[in-house]
Amino acid sequence: MVFVLIYAALTSTRVYAQPDETIYIKAKKIYTSDDGRIIINGGILIKEGKITKLDEKAKPPREAFVIDLSDKIIIPGLIDAFTHLGFHQEDFNVRTEPPTPWRKPLEGIYRLYFGQRERESPPPQIEARFKASDAVFYGDSWFKKFLSQGITSASIAIPTDNLLGGIPFVARLFADAPSDFYMLDPAGMVFSFSGDRNVMKRYGDLVKVFQDAQDYRKEWEKYGKDLKKFQAQEKEGKDKQKEKGKEGEEAEKEVKEPKEPRKNENHEAVLQVLDRKIPALIRASKINEIQAALKIREDFRIRLVLVGGHEAHKIPLEISSRKVSIIAGPESILVKKGGKINYIQELLANNIPVAFCSHSSNDTSFLLYQLTYAVQNGLSIGDALDTVTAHPAQILGIPNRVGSIAVGKQADFVVLDGEPFELETRVKEVYISGKGVYFDE
């Protein structure tokens, strides 16, 4: 009896629903981020972690577990489109090429006072095949902090300014098992045009990387052809040998057995970009960097996404006509000599899909706050919300799983205690796949 009472008390205080249960959520206002649709006093029906119904008026079915949030406001789970979450300070800039400037003088000092003892081996270069998913632990304790800031999914890249930045992946920030954690891997390939003053050098290097990959493929294609020819000939030769005896031996000598080229994982990774299987995320903020990135796109017909794009509003037509999307950030407003430029607004006005990202490794709490500042300076609420929900889902290539509150999608959403772009609004609860993963206490 006592146990039953205790069990009843425990279950009544904590209302965690089971993930495979049918859940019904009532809310004061739902920003669906699905073509700007807003539902007032409506409800969401969730079955097995997916949204199955959206009601204009709340009518919970009998079998459903009802969560009453009728004084709260719901927005879709936020997606941070470019981050280094899960990487810690010791990972930063370690493997960059050229080495960080302070390293050289320090080495000199060490050599003077301690001889060769403290000298490090030259830092290895990041290669195209490096995957961010190999380095990030799915159960990292920091992810809880990002959940409390309303982020449910994030694209995670290796923190580096190197030209080749490796392969990023899209993560779901709450996962019981590693298979849940990786939503999309690979999610693209990062190249960086910023970080070096000499843009043309980086452009030339990247062209060389692409051309090498193309040459590599040609080599393999040639090998394939030769091998076929050789095998065919060998077969023919054997048949002939049976028929004519000694004459066949001469024919065999005409084509030699081709030598197998060496496998190169880097070239194979780059070929995925050239085959348009994954997008190329090129970090370019200044106008010359952006133009170099557009040139690369013309030359190799890659799927281009610009990361940064601070000066992209100067050439909006060139970008919109080529259907290039932009992951903007980390500033929401540019301050130039006393004037403020709302570049996100200007890009969106030209029908360019823009995602807003934090570019951060340890703090995403300002994603909503920064957009609040952009809203104060003229960005509309719907547009601001789209830049962290619908647009990043589209750009990262997961639009039918996350990014909005719509039927058939994963039930990721954030519960706020006020309107989304107000200074005093706080994140109260976060749900991923219909499961409560964060509660503000």
């Binding site: 500033e331 540019l334 920064q370 500042y373 809203v375 104060q376 107000e422 200074l423």
Partner: protein, 410 residues
């Protein structure tokens, strides 16, 4: 005939005279926040020669004057920035103590300050750069063109003193202790004193003991001691820039001995000493680490306290009833003063209270509440026209009036 001519002449003269002296403007219909503790729902302001003549809900508007319709606007007094250098590139002062230096000497009265006017800042305290122990005297000015006569509000408004990290920054120059004379033979130059925190405190006390100097040294220190003595006579507020609780306590001790009013600038750890600050009537110019466009990355040095704690300091001081004025820690964000102050709505402080921190509170620190920072009879007509925008979290600034004239319109 002659009489009628005279009469006519007089009449014309009078009419002309009336039209000249009566350059009165009325603002009607706005929600006026006077910052004296009252909000007029639909008030009327009468302005003549750049000053407010009358303000209230039942004010008679004289016939035939220009009336500005402010229906739907929220009117605030012009903001007063409590600290700023107002130079395009940062300047540094490498003298250990230069109380005779004045910020006015380098302030450009004909400069273009449109970015500050756009942010609603009509008056500001021009400070001396925070390097070494006594940086000099700052002045309160109005911003926007008009020349020195029109803009200067107070020539010597406060004395900038630094404690903590700034006071012991290594100076670039090595100086002689005094001019060479038989009493002071040529000796090797030494590094400017102080180089430690304790040395800074000792020097501050020593500099105010005017009778201690004698001989050649006295002549060398003449200008310094003269200006310090003058500052003490004028009862200038001491603006002491420090962050640590221990430095704040030392500053309070020092202000008691020299008998000058104290203002703490920076004050990251002031939340620990809220009671002591309240007891000693110390006001605070709080530096907020708010980055409006979201760049929060800064290198965490040992001197700087934890970011989260710092943010809690300002709301704690306001709730205690201490005179707090808010300024961004980086001058680049000064044009966004309204946003920086309103950020603290997150901690449950009301919008009205936060506007007070950047208007009347700043004016009170420099003793100018009779002129700027609030709307009342006899005050300057510096009025900001805010309008509530749909969807935006805060009202937007659309027009800025300085002394009865619009200096910025969106």
């Amino acid at each position: 005939m002659r009489k009628t001519m005279v009469c006519l002449g007089l009449l014309i003269f009078f009419c002309w005279g009336i039209s000249l002296s009566g350059e009165t403007i009325a603002i009607r219909g706005g929600e006026i926040h006077t910052m004296n503790g009252e909000i007029l729902k639909s008030g009327i302001i009468l302005i003549r020669e750049g000053k407010i003549v009358d303000i209230g809900e039942n004010v008679q508007i004289p016939e035939g004057i220009e009336v500005i319709d402010a229906q739907g606007y929220i009117l605030y007094p012009g903001f007063v920035a409590p600290s700023g250098l107002f130079t395009p590139e940062g300047i540094r002062n490498f003298e250990s103590f230069s109380p005779q230096a004045s910020a006015l000497d380098r302030f450009d009265f004909h400069g273009d300050y449109i970015q500050y006017l756009r942010g609603g800042i009509t008056s500001a305290f021009v400070a001396m750069p925070a390097n070494r122990i006594i940086s000099g005297k700052g002045a309160v000015v109005k911003l926007g063109g008009g020349g020195k006569k029109a803009l200067l509000l107070r020539e010597e408004a406060a004395l900038n003193v630094n404690l903590g990290k700034e006071a012991i920054l290594p100076p670039m120059t090595d100086v002689f202790p005094a001019p060479v004379s038989p009493e002071n033979p040529l000796t090797p130059s030494f590094r400017q004193f102080p180089s430690s925190s304790l040395g800074a405190h000792w020097l501050l006390h020593e500099l105010f003991r005017f009778d201690a100097y004698s001989g050649e040294l006295a002549r060398y220190f003449q200008s310094i001691s003269h200006s310090l003595e003058k500052a003490q006579e004028q009862d200038l507020p001491l603006i002491v820039r420090c962050q640590k609780a221990s430095d704040i306590l030392q500053a309070i001790q020092f202000s008691k001995t020299v008998n000058m009013p104290l203002v703490i600038q920076g004050a990251a750890e002031a939340y620990r000493l809220a009671d002591i600050l309240k007891e000693n009537h110390v006001s605070v110019i709080a530096e907020a680490h708010v980055r409006p466009n979201g760049l929060f990355t800064y290198q965490d040095s040992g001197e700087k306290p934890a970011w989260g704690k710092h943010m809690r300091s300002i709301p704690a001081l306001i709730q205690k009833g201490i005179l707090v004025s808010i300024t961004p820690d980086d001058e680049r964000y000064l044009p966004d003063l309204f946003w920086v102050a309103q950020y603290f709505q997150k901690f449950g402080i009301s919008e009205e209270k936060l506007v007070e921190t950047i208007t009347i509170n700043s004016a009170k620190i420099f003793g100018l509440e009779g002129k700027i920072g609030n709307l009342g009879k006899g005050r300057d007509a510096d009025i900001l026209f805010f309008k509530k925008a749909r969807g935006a979290p805060l009202p937007r600034l659309e027009k800025v009036m300085r002394e009865g004239q619009f200096v910025y319109e969106e």
